[in-house]
Amino acid sequence: MSHPEFLWRNPEPKPAYDVVIVGAGGHGLATAYYLAKNHGITNVAVLEKGWLAGGNMARNTTIIRSNYLWDESAAIYEHSLKLWEGLSDDLEYDLQFSQRGVLNLAHNLADVREGRRRVNANRLNGVDAEWLEADEVKKFCPVVNASDSARYPVLGATLQRRGGIAKHDHVAWALARKADAYGIDLIQNIEVTGFEMVKNRVTAVQTTRGRISAGKVALAAAGHTSVLAAKAGFPLPLQSHPLQALVSELLEPVLDCVVMSNAVHVYVSQAHKGELVMGAGIDTYNSYGQRGAFHVIEAQMAAALELFPIFSRVRVLRTWGGVVDVSPDASPIIGRTPVDGLFINAGWGTGGFKATPGSGWVYAHTIAHDEPHPLAVPFALERFTTGALIDEHGAAAVAH
C-alpha cells in the first residue's frame, strides 16, 4: 500500500472561522470534508486536543454494515454504506474497503427470531440481508465451530454481503487530506476549554491556544462530548464507558468474513495485513481512562474460542481501550442543542466507525442549513422527552 506523499499542513489557528469543529476524529473530519464539498463552506477549523484521529477512530475494529432493525437507523446507516461504496474513489485514496460480508450469529431460538425479523426489515428497507441456516453458515465461514454440542451452538446467522471492513487510519487520513486541500485548518494539540455565548448564541471557543471566534460550533468529540456540553451548560443523556479491543499477531489468511455474535459479545475479522481484530463488550462503569479491566478480555477470548477453537494457539499482541459515548437507546444524537449555533453529533456508542461518511454528510448539512438533515430528524435530542426512542438494544445489543 502506498500512501500519498503529502497529507496535511500543520497550520496555526486563525482568530476566527465560520465553523469550528471540535474533534478531529472520523466524524469531525468527514463533517469538515462534506461542509467543503457539499456546501462550499471552507473557512473551517477542526480542533483536536491530541493527535488527529487518535481517539476511537484509531481504536475501533473497523466493521461496516447497515443492517439495523429500525427504519430510522437503517436509513442513516445505509446512506453511510452507500457512501462507503464510492469513498475510495471520491477521496482518491485506497481505503481498503472490503465488502467481505458480515455474519451475525444466532445461538438460541430468540436470536433466530430476532435475526429473521431484522433480515426481513432490512430487505423491505432496501438493505441487503440474508438469513443463513446453520449449514449455510458453515459453508460461508468454514472455520466457525458449527458443532451441535458447542456451548453456544450456531443455529443460523444473518448475513449482509455488502458489509465488511476498511482501514481506519486510511479513512481518517484520506478525509483529512481532502479537507486540508479545501483549505480547512486541521489543528492538533489544541483543547477547547470553554465557549463564549451572547444571548444564548455561541460566538467563540476558548482553547489552550487562545480564543477563536466561530460562526457556528459543531461538537464531534465522541466520548468527551459530555465534558464539552457541560462547559456549554446543558446536560446530555450520554455515559462514557471503556470499550476494549485487541489484535493478534500477523497470520496467513484464515478468516475472510466478519463474524459477530451478540450473545457472547464477540466480533472478529482478519485485517489485510493478517492480524485478527477483535472487540469485546463495554466495561460497565463510566470512565475516561481509555482502558478497561482484563477480565473483560478474558471472557471475550473464552467466548471467541467456543466459536473458533482453531484460534486457541493464536496470540494476542495488543489490547487497548477507547472511550465510547453511549446513549440510552444505543442510537446517536444529531442536531441542534439548547445553545444557538452549537450543534451536536454524539452517542454513536460502540458503532460510530461504520457511520463515518454518513454521519459527516448529514451533520454537515445540519450545520450548513441550521436545521436537521431529513435523515437526522429522528435522532434529535427531543426524543428522550417524548419517549420516541430508536431502541436498537433489542435486536443488536452489540451495535458495532
Binding site: E5, R116, E249, K273, A302, L305, I310
Partner: protein, 1030 residues
C-alpha cells in the same frame, strides 16, 4: 536433545532456547521478512526478538529466543506471519490462578532478587516472578564477579534464602504481561505443554524488569549475522554457543566492550571493536549468496570480513509495565533513554529498569526497594544489607546515536515490520508530527515484538527529522500484554462445557434418559420436546399438545425464578413494583402480574401468591430471575428502605412440575389430595407424597392446570410420579403453542423492550387506583400515550408464516409490524394501525403470505376449559427417594480424590435463610442476612434446604485447587473463615472449617457445573513451572 527445523534434524542441549540451539548448529537464516522477503537471522536472546519468529508444533508463531528446547521439538521458518493449524491441536491445558501478596517483585535479576529477599526477610508475603527457567536475570548472561566470586554464586545464595522463607513464593518461567488498576498484575507461567495465567493482587509492587539493548539503523543492518551485542554475549556465556567465528562489535556504550571481551573469551575472533563515542560509524554490510553477513564497511573506507556484527546501541529500561500502570516516563539525557518518573500506583522501580545499570547498584537499589515495600505494608524494615563488591567499571554515558550511513532505504528501524529510515522520512514529509501517526503510517512498532528493539530508533530518527528532542517526541503507548499471550491462555479452563455454566434442574437426568431435545434459555437447559421413536419436532409437539388438551401432560417448570418475599410492607412493596394490586390479595390466592421498568416498558411477568399475611412468593420468567431479584433489592435498598420487606431467592430450593390437561386433577389428587379441589388461582402449602410441598392452581394453557412444588431433592421423584400417573411429558415448544393459542404473550418474544402493557392489550392489569407503580409516569409520556402504537394482534395466515416475518399492507408500503409467534393454528404479531378483519401480507425471506388480522385468542375464548374433568380414578404413588444435586458425582469424586486433596458432597442438612434480626447463629452473609444450618427452623425463616448443596474439599492441596478459580485471598491470616464469592463462574459460599478443609455451598442448579469444574481441576494435579513438552 533432538529437534527439527524446516524438516532437518539437529541436536541441541538441555537448557538451550530454540534460538541458541539453531545457532549451535550454525543455522543462520531462520526466516524471511514479512514484506520484502529478506533473509533474517537470530537478532536477540529474549522476548524482544523481531526476526526469529517460527512456527513450533501447532503454535503458529513463537519467538525462537523464548522457546525452551525439548526432545522432539519441530519448528518451521516463517515469512513474518503465523500459520494457523486448521484442526484444533489437542493436548494443551491452560488454567488460571489468583494470588495475593504484600509485595510483588517482577524480575529475578540482581535488583529483583535483592528486593524479594529484603521484603521476605521482614515477614511480608512476597511473590517473585521471572520469565526465565532459572533466576539471575542479566547475571546469567555475563561473567561478572561479586565479592570476588562468580555472580551466580550470589544468585544461588539468595535463591536458597528465598526458598526457605515460608511466605515467599517464587514463580519462574513466569512473564508478567499486564499491570492494571489497584496493583493488579497478570502473568503467564509456562507449565509443561500449557500455561497458567496468574492474577496477582499486591499491596506494593517492585518492578525490576531490567533493560533491553536497542538496535541501530544503518544500511543492510538486517542481515543474518547482525545481532545485538548483549545477545551475542548471552549466547557465548549462558549457552556456550559461539554466535559467529569472526566478529565486529559496534557500540555506543560500555556494554559493547564487555561483549567483545566475552566473545573473545568464548573463542570468537573479534576483528574490531568500533565505539561511536570515538567517532566510528558503519556505512554498510556485505553478504554471501544467501544474504548472510560476510563483512562490515565503516566510514573512512574501513572494511572488515566478519560473520557476526554485534551491535550495542545503548540500553532502554524495560518500562512497559510501569507505563501500563499509568506511571509517567521522562527522557534521561545522560542515558538517552526514557526512564520511570512518576508512579501512579503503589509501586516503585528498582535497578536497571530505572537506569541503574551496575550490578552492585542494582542490588543496593533492590534491597532498598524491598525494604521500603515491606515497611509500607506494615513490616519491620531491616536496617542494612550487605552490598557485594562488583568488578564492573563505572559506566560512561552512551553515544546518542540512532542511525548511520547513507542509504535510508536499506536501513531498517523495525526489522519485523520491514520499516526503513526512508519510510520514516516519508512519514515526516506527509505532515505527520506525532509518533503515533508515524507508527500507523509505517507500521513501525506493531510487529510481534511490539517494537521492543525498534521503538527507540523510531523516536530517535523522527526527532532528528523533525528537529526536536526525543523527550519531546515521546513514546507510543505501551499496551498490554508485554509479550504475546495465546487465546487459550486467556480462556483458561473456561472452554467447552465449562465456558459458561450450564444450569440444570433436579429432573435433568430424567430428561436426558427420555431423549429430550433441549433448548438454551439463559444458562438453563430446558427440554424443548420429548420425541418418541423417530418423531420429528412437529409430530412430537402435536402429540404433546394433544395430551395437554385432551388428557394430561406435564412440564418441568423448575427454571422459573422464585422469590420469597416477607415483611409487614411486602404487599405495599409489590403494589409499587407491579402494575396491578397485591396488597389486597387474599392469603391463599395467586395473581398474575406485570412489572415495567421506569421507562414504562414491560420488564417481566409472573404469578405471585400470598402465602401469609406478610409472606408472598413471586415467580419470574426463567431468563429474568436474577435481574428481577436485583431490581427488587435496588428499589428497596436505594429508594424505599423504610419499607419492611425482605427477599430470598428460592429458585433452586423448589422443583416445579406443571401438570396441565382435563385429567390434571386426578394426578394431583394422587400426589396431594388436599390440593386437588383448589379453586382457580388459589394455592396451598400441603404435603406432596408426604414431603413438604406447595401446589398452585394456575394455568398457562387454558386447561385445568397445577404447578406442584417440592424441595429439589424430591424433584426427580415428583417428575417420575407425575408421569407414572399418566401425564405425557412436554417441553417448551408445546408450552409455547398452548399459550399462543390462548393469546398469552411471552416477555422477550412478544416484547422487545419497546412494548408497554397497553401495547399488549393488557390495560386490565394496569391499576388506575394506585397512586404510583414503577413505569406509571412513563405511560403518560407523549409517545407512549399516543394513538397508533403497535398492539398485540392475532393473524390467520393462508399458509405457514415464519416468526420474524414483517407485515405490510397488500401491495407493499411501510412495515406495520412483525410476527412474534407462529404455530399451526396460532399466530401472534405486534402491529400498528390494524384491526380485526384487515388483510395484510407477511414478508419473510423471499416469501409473501397473505394474512388476516384477528383477535389474539385462538382457543377457548370463553375459558370453558379452565376447570377440567372431575376425578374419576385416583392412582397410587410409589415411594420417593431423595436425590442430592451432586449424588450422581459420588463415584467420580471418590476416584478423583487423593491423599493431597479429597472431594465429596456432604450429607443433607436443613438450611434456612434469615433476614432482619440476628439469629445468633449461622453464617452472616450480609448486613442483615444469615444462613443457618440445622433442624430448628423458626417462624419467619425461609427454608432453603434445597437451594444449595455442600461440597467439601480437603487436604494439603485444597487451597491450590481453590486458587485456580477463587479470586479472594485465602491466606489464613486474611480469610475470615467464610465468604460469599465466586469459584470458577459460580457464586458460592466458601467456608474453612479446619486448616485444610473447605466447604463450598453451591446452588443446586450450578452443582453440575461446579462438580465438573472441580473434577477438571483435580484431574490435573501438580503445581509450579515445569519444562516444556509437546
Amino acid at each position: 536433545m533432538r529437534f527439527t527445523f524446516d524438516e532437518r534434524t539437529y541436536e541441541g542441549r538441555p537448557g538451550d532456547t530454540l534460538a541458541a540451539a539453531l545457532l549451535r548448529n550454525g543455522v543462520r537464516v531462520v526466516g524471511r521478512s514479512v514484506d520484502l522477503g529478506r533473509p533474517r537471522g537470530v537478532f536477540s536472546a529474549g522476548p524482544e526478538e523481531p526476526n526469529a519468529l517460527v512456527r513450533v508444533g501447532a503454535d503458529p508463531m513463537l519467538a525462537a529466543t523464548t522457546v525452551e528446547l525439548y526432545e522432539g521439538l519441530a519448528a518451521w521458518s516463517l515469512r513474518g506471519k503465523g500459520r494457523v493449524d486448521l484442526a484444533e491441536p489437542a493436548g494443551r491445558r491452560c488454567d488460571k490462578g489468583y494470588l495475593h501478596c504484600d509485595v510483588l517483585v517482577v524480575g529475578g535479576g540482581p535488583a529483583g532478587l535483592a528486593a524479594a529477599l529484603a521484603a521476605g526477610e521482614s515477614g511480608a508475603r512476597v511473590i517473585l516472578v521471572d520469565d526465565q527457567p532459572v533466576l539471575g536475570g542479566d547475571l546469567l548472561a555475563g561473567r561478572a564477579t561479586l565479592d570476588g566470586a562468580p555472580a551466580l554464586d550470589w544468585v544461588a545464595g539468595v535463591a536458597h534464602q528465598l526458598a526457605v522463607l515460608p511466605e515467599v513464593r517464587v514463580l519462574t518461567r513466569t512473564t508478567a504481561i499486564g499491570y492494571y488498576d489497584d496493583n493488579y498484575l497478570t502473568a503467564v507461567e509456562k507449565r509443561g505443554s500449557g500455561e497458567r495465567l496468574w492474577h496477582l493482587r499486591a499491596r506494593r509492587v517492585v518492578l525490576a524488569t531490567g533493560a533491553q539493548e536497542r538496535s541501530l539503523a544503518f544500511p543492510d543492518n538486517d542481515r543474518p549475522g547482525v545481532m545485538l551485542a548483549s545477545a551475542a554475549r548471552t549466547y557465548a556465556n549462558r549457552y556456550g554457543v559461539r554466535p559467529g567465528a569472526r566478529a565486529v562489535v559496534f557500540t555506543c556504550a560500555d556494554s559493547g566492550h564487555e561483549a567483545a571481551r566475552d566473545l573473545a573469551a568464548a573463542g570468537v575472533e573479534v576483528v574490531a571493536v568500533l565505539d561511536a563515542r570515538d567517532g566510528a560509524e558503519i556505512t554498510g554490510t556485505t553478504a554471501d549468496g544467501e544474504g548472510v553477513l560476510t563483512g562490515v564497511r565503516t566510514r573512512g573506507g574501513g572494511q572488515f570480513a566478519a560473520d557476526l556484527l554485534a551491535v550495542a546501541g545503548g540500553w532502554n529500561p524495560v518500562a512497559h509495565l510501569f507505563s501500563q500502570s499509568q506511571g509517567r516516563l521522562r527522557f534521561d539525557e545522560e542515558l538517552q533513554a526514557f526512564v520511570p518518573h512518576l508512579s501512579a500506583q503503589a509501586e516503585r522501580s528498582a535497578g536497571a529498569c530505572r537506569g541503574l545499570y551496575g550490578t552492585a547498584e542494582a542490588i543496593a537499589d533492590g534491597y532498598a526497594a524491598g525494604s521500603q515495600a515491606a515497611g509500607l505494608t506494615g513490616f519491620a524494615e531491616r536496617a542494612s544489607h550487605h552490598i557485594p563488591d562488583s568488578d564492573e567499571r563505572p559506566p560512561k554515558p552512551p553515544a546518542p546515536l540512532w542511525v548511520m550511513g547513507d542509504d535510508p532505504a536499506t536501513s531498517f528501524a523495525d526489522l519485523h515490520r520491514d520499516v526503513t529510515v526512508a519510510d520514516l522520512q516519508r512519514a515526516s514529509g506527509t505532515g505527520m508530527r506525532s509518533v503515533e501517526h508515524v507508527k500507523r503510517y509505517t507500521t513501525a512498532g506493531t510487529g510481534a515484538d511490539q517494537g521492543k528493539t525498534a521503538g527507540a530508533v523510531v523516536v530517535g530518527v523522527m526527532s532528528a527529522l523533525l528537529g526536536t528532542a526525543p523527550g519531546q517526541m515521546g513514546t507510543t503507548t505501551f499496551r498490554p500484554p508485554y509479550t504475546p499471550v495465546s487465546f487459550a491462555t486467556l480462556a483458561g479452563r473456561d472452554r467447552g462445557a465449562l465456558s459458561d455454566p450450564v444450569r440444570t434442574t433436579a429432573m435433568h437426568e430424567a430428561h436426558l434418559a427420555r431423549g429430550a431435545v433441549f433448548e438454551d434459555v439463559g444458562q438453563w437447559k430446558r427440554p424443548r420436546y420429548f420425541p418418541l421413536g423417530d418423531e420429528d419436532m412437529d409430530e412430537a409437539v402435536r402429540r404433546e399438545c394433544d395430551a395437554a388438551r385432551t388428557r394430561v401432560a406435564a412440564m418441568d417448570a423448575s427454571t422459573l425464578g422464585k422469590i420469597d418475599i416477607r415483611g409487614a410492607d411486602a404487599g405495599e412493596f409489590l403494589d409499587r413494583i407491579y402494575t396491578n394490586m397485591y396488597s389486597t390479595l387474599a392469603v391463599g390466592a395467586c395473581r398474575y402480574g406485570l412489572m415495567c421498568k421506569a421507562d414504562g416498558m414491560v420488564f417481566d411477568d409472573g404469578t405471585t401468591a400470598r402465602l401469609g399475611p406478610e409472606h408472598f412468593l413471586m415467580t419470574t420468567t426463567t431468563g429474568n430471575a436474577a435481574a428481577v431479584l436485583d431490581w427488587l433489592e435496588e428499589w428497596h435498598q436505594t429508594e424505599w428502605p423504610e419499607l419492611d420487606v425482605r427477599f430470598t431467592s428460592v429458585t433452586d430450593h423448589w422443583a416445579t412440575v406443571a401438570v396441565a390437561g382435563p385429567k390434571a386433577r386426578e394426578v394431583v389428587a394422587a400426589l396431594a389430595p388436599e390440593a386437588a379441589e383448589l379453586a382457580f388461582m388459589r394455592c396451598v402449602e400441603t404435603p406432596v407424597a408426604g414431603v413438604d410441598g406447595r401446589v398452585f392452581r394456575i394455568s398457562f394453557s387454558g386447561e385445568l392446570a397445577y404447578e406442584v412444588n417440592v424441595p429439589w431433592w424430591y424433584g426427580a421423584a415428583l417428575w417420575e410420579s407425575v408421569l407414572a400417573l399418566g401425564a405425557v411429558p412436554y417441553g417448551t415448544e408445546t408450552m409455547h403453542v398452548l399459550r399462543a393459542e390462548k393469546g398469552f404473550a411471552i416477555v422477550g418474544q412478544e416484547t422487545d423492550g419497546t412494548v408497554t402493557p397497553q401495547d399488549l392489550g393488557m390495560e386490565w392489569i394496569v391499576s388506575r387506583r394506585k397512586p404510583d407503580y414503577v413505569g406509571k409516569r412513563s405511560h403518560a409520556r407523549p409517545d407512549t400515550a399516543r394513538e397508533g402504537r403497535k398492539r398485540l394482534v392475532g393473524l390467520r395466515p393462508e399458509e405457514f408464516v415464519e416468526e420474524g416475518a414483517q407485515l405490510v399492507a397488500p401491495g407493499g408500503g411501510e412495515m406495520l409490524g412483525h410476527v412474534t409467534s407462529s404455530y399451526t393454528g396460532a399466530v401472534l404479531a405486534m402491529a400498528r394501525d390494524v384491526a380485526p378483519g384487515d388483510r395484510l401480507e407477511a414478508v419473510s425471506g423471499g416469501r409473501t403470505v397473505p394474512v388476516t388480522v384477528v383477535e389474539p385468542v385462538f382457543y377457548d375464548p370463553d375459558n370453558t376449559r379452565r376447570d377440567g374433568d372431575p376425578v374419576e380414578r385416583v392412582g397410587t404413588v410409589g415411594e420417593w427417594r431423595p436425590e442430592s444435586p451432586a449424588g450422581r458425582f459420588a463415584h467420580r469424586f471418590l476416584s478423583a480424590s487423593s491423599e493431597r486433596v479429597r472431594l465429596r458432597e456432604l450429607p443433607f442438612v436443613r438450611m434456612w435463610e434469615v433476614r432482619g434480626r440476628d439469629p445468633g447463629q449461622g453464617l452472616r452473609l450480609g448486613p442483615a442476612w444469615w444462613l443457618v444450618t440445622g433442624d430448628g427452623g423458626r417462624e419467619g425463616w425461609t427454608d432453603v434446604s434445597g437451594q444449595r448443596t455442600v461440597l467439601e474439599l480437603s487436604g494439603p492441596d485444597a487451597v491450590e485447587v481453590l486458587v485456580t478459580g477463587c479470586p479472594i485471598d485465602l491466606h489464613p491470616a486474611v480469610f475470615p473463615g467464610y465468604a460469599q464469592t465466586l469459584l470458577g463462574k459460580a457464586g458460592v459460599i466458601l467456608e474453612r472449617t479446619a486448616p485444610d478443609v473447605f466447604r463450598v455451598y453451591v446452588r443446586s442448579s450450578f452443582t453440575g457445573y461446579l462438580a465438573e469444574w472441580l473434577l477438571d481441576a483435580l484431574s490435573h494435579p501438580g503445581s509450579g513451572s515445569s519444562p516444556p513438552s509437546r
